[in-house]
């Protein structure tokens, strides 16, 4: 079984340190919700682990199945089994979803191996049906002119097609109405049940998403690190008491 070990990770943008000693192990099949107020470094963490060039990992380690990913390029990390579901997915004019996904699938094949086009489309259509994405979308440009819900469903579609070992899902619920949220959650839950269930880091502000994607663990992030961990009941407690409660508790403990 695969696992992602994040150990004492420090991340900065320019000379500003955002993540300050983040430690967590995510095993395949587990869902870890990372909650916390704005500006605590949740998105920074996800993007840096995926290899975004704007972020510098100044110390700490990220190990996928025991091997460090930190020296790898973003595309190598993805092929090794990491997946980032973006909070704000890029629009790629002129590149159809079908071509984009085919390129991503082909990138995972060995040199000289031919893509089985029939099998590819069959699989793509099945996943699209599951996510209630109109098949006409295959010829549409990636994310271009998509609604918020369509963009997020497209992210889950990519995740379903690429079957990562570990998925970092950044605010997947933002901008979704309740119907879209339910479709996205169903898509994620279907992957949790599959044989190739990924380990998921689910970054969110709100308890709402966790009603639909029930986490195994909930972690509260504050000032660049985890300050409290628990099970799904922690999310409900946060919903009732707000983040200030955790902040105060953390401040008291560190006083």
């Amino acid at each position: 079984m695969s696992q992602l070990v994040i150990h004492d990770l420090h991340i900065s943008i320019g000379d500003k340190t955002i993540v300050k000693g983040f430690t967590l192990t995510i095993k395949q099949g587990e869902v870890h919700a990372i909650m916390g107020p704005n500006g605590t470094g949740k998105s920074t963490l996800a993007k840096a682990i995926a290899g975004h060039p704007d972020y510098t990992i100044t110390s700490g380690e990220v190990l996928l199945d025991g091997g460090s990913v930190l020296a790898m390029e973003p595309d190598e990390r993805a092929r090794a089994g990491l997946f980032l579901a973006f909070q704000y997915p890029s629009e790629i004019p002129g590149v159809s979803i079908a071509n984009f996904l085919r390129a991503a699938v082909q990138a995972r094949m060995t040199e000289g191996e031919e893509l089985d086009a029939t099998g590819y489309y069959k699989r793509l259509y099945a996943k699209m049906d599951m996510l209630k994405i109109d098949r006409k979308f295959t010829s549409r440009s990636v994310n271009e002119g998509f609604s918020g819900g369509e963009k997020k469903r497209c992210e889950i579609l990519q995740m379903a097609m690429l079957e990562p070992k570990i998925a970092l899902m950044d605010e997947t619920d933002s901008g979704l109405d309740i119907d879209a949220l339910r479709i996205v959650a169903d898509g994620v839950n279907a992957q949790r049940k599959s044989a190739a269930a990924p380990g998921i880091m689910l970054i969110t502000h709100y308890q709402r998403l966790l009603d639909y994607i029930v986490p195994d663990f909930v972690h509260v992030m504050h000032d660049g690190r985890i300050v409290k961990s628990g099970d799904k009941s922690l999310a409900l407690e946060l919903e009732a008491k707000g983040y200030d409660w955790v902040k105060q508790e953390f401040a008291a403990a560190n006083a």
């Binding site: 995926a50 595309d75 993805a78 980032l84 790629i92 002129g94 984009f100 390129a103």
Partner: protein, 438 residues
């Protein structure tokens, strides 16, 4: 040495060369031969472009030469004629018609210009090179008319629709060969047609875009769309990389006519393209599109003019360039709205994708509006590949080189996507993809 100045003005295209050419076309109508003589006179008299000419700003004039060429001679071979999907095709090699394939519906004419001059003289006379040269190349346009030996004539009568594309292959072979291709498209009222011009170099009559010697290519096309007519014209310029190329387009759109012209520029060392659209009657629309892949030390010089001469006319220009290596592009475009052309809707955009720090893109967008109730927009942008887009693709496991290729093709697809015929779209995309990989 007075001979020097004469040489620089006419170069290889001497009176003797012109006389030889005239002798080869002496069987054509007298009015046409008279026009050719007059054109040669203008060519001789007009000066070469100067650095101070507004129409040649940013152009490299030191490499513009008329010397070292020879009007293309007959060569063996009939050349390829299957690069593009088409219902029928005509092929030219060094100015001579060498092959034809397919058929057109009865009533539609798809023939050589020479045959058309002999059989349909009045039609040809009304439309062939009937529009003035307005974008700076009067001298080269005159040279084109003087030495034009043969080309393609497409005539679609009233209400006829030709559903599949008609293709014309203009090919050059041999070092220094000068060719003067021409395609004349006349679509009468409510007619519809798609025409594709393909310009390429051959060796032994076989397409060899990169393995061939340099040429001098000086070509033109006239597109006429009558009331309610629809003309789609696609040109693919893929001359050998040592060719000096000129192309002149004149488009006339009558009431409610729609003309789409898409020029793909891949070949030549220095290529100048002038495109001139006249929206002559209400409801006329011209879609002016171009895609250029500029690499090595290539220079692509594109000059455009959209003239709105009647109310409620529209035009949409989108010229996209991808620049690699030390390549250079120039785009200079002007929208003119005549005083009574109210409710004009004109758009002009030049977008440059910079794939090298050493490449140079020049943009000169312009407006000249004399009516007061119009909507005209123009703009030019130069940008590198978007880092966020590239990261997004790479975060899916796509390798950087492939991610960049996808983004460049995405950049082109905005233009290529306007081609309605899917097979033609795919053929062009494949040719561009192949070129881009070299």
């Amino acid at each position: 040495m007075p001979a020097v100045s004469t040489t620089s003005l006419v170069g290889s295209f001497t009176q003797e060369a012109f006389n030889t050419h005239l002798a080869r076309v002496s069987h054509l109508p007298a009015w046409w031969l008279d026009r050719k003589r007059a054109a040669y006179g203008r060519f001789v008299a007009l000066p070469m472009p100067k650095r101070t000419d507004e129409g040649w700003r940013f152009s490299n004039l030191s490499t513009l030469t008329l010397d070292g060429f020879e009007v293309g001679r007959a060569v063996p071979g009939t050349a390829s004629s299957s690069a593009l999907p088409a219902a029928a095709s005509l092929t030219y090699l060094n100015n001579r018609a060498t092959a034809r394939t397919g058929d057109v519906p009865a009533g539609v004419i798809f023939d050589t210009l020479q045959n058309a001059l002999l059989k349909h003289g009045d039609l040809v006379k009304a439309h062939l090179l009937a529009q003035p040269s307005k974008l700076g190349s009067d001298k080269f346009a005159a040279l084109h008319e003087a030495f034009l030996e043969d080309g393609a004539f497409i005539y679609v009568p009233k209400g006829f629709e030709v559903t599949e594309p008609l293709a014309v292959y203009h090919q050059a072979e041999g070092p220094g060969s000068a060719v003067f291709p021409h395609t004349l498209v006349v679509a009468e009222d409510n007619a519809k047609v798609t025409v594709a011009d393909f310009f390429a170099s051959t060796v032994g009559g076989v397409l060899r875009p990169d393995g061939s010697s340099g040429h001098f290519a000086c070509g033109g096309n006239d597109l006429y769309a009558g009331h309610g007519a629809s003309v789609s014209y696609i040109a693919l310029q893929d001359w050998s990389r040592d060719t000096l190329s000129f192309q002149f387009n004149a488009t006339v759109a009558r009431r409610d006519a729609k003309v789409l012209s898409l020029n793909v520029h891949l070949g030549a060392r220095q290529a100048r393209h002038e495109s001139f659209s006249q929206l002559q009657a209400p409801g006329a629309h011209s879609e002016m599109l171009a895609l250029t892949v500029a690499q090595g030390a290539q220079e692509f010089d594109q000059r455009t003019l959209q003239i709105h001469q009647a109310p409620n006319t529209s035009s949409n220009l989108l010229y996209k360039n991808a620049l690699l290596d030390q390549a250079k592009t120039i785009f200079s475009g002007l929208i003119v709205v005549d005083p009574d052309a109210q409710k004009t809707d004109a758009y002009q955009s030049n977008r440059n994708l910079m794939l090298s720090d050493e490449a140079e893109a020049n943009s000169l967008p312009g407006l000249e509006i004399q009516a007061n109730d119009v909507r005209c927009t123009h703009g030019a942008t130069s940008a590198r590949i978007d880092a966020e887009q590239e990261f997004y693709l790479e975060s899916r496991g796509i390798k950087p080189a492939h991610a960049q290729e996808l983004l460049v093709f995405g950049f082109f697809e905005e233009v290529l996507g306007k081609i309605e015929n899917e097979a033609l779209h795919d053929a062009l995309a494949a040719i561009i993809r192949n070129k881009f990989k070299k």
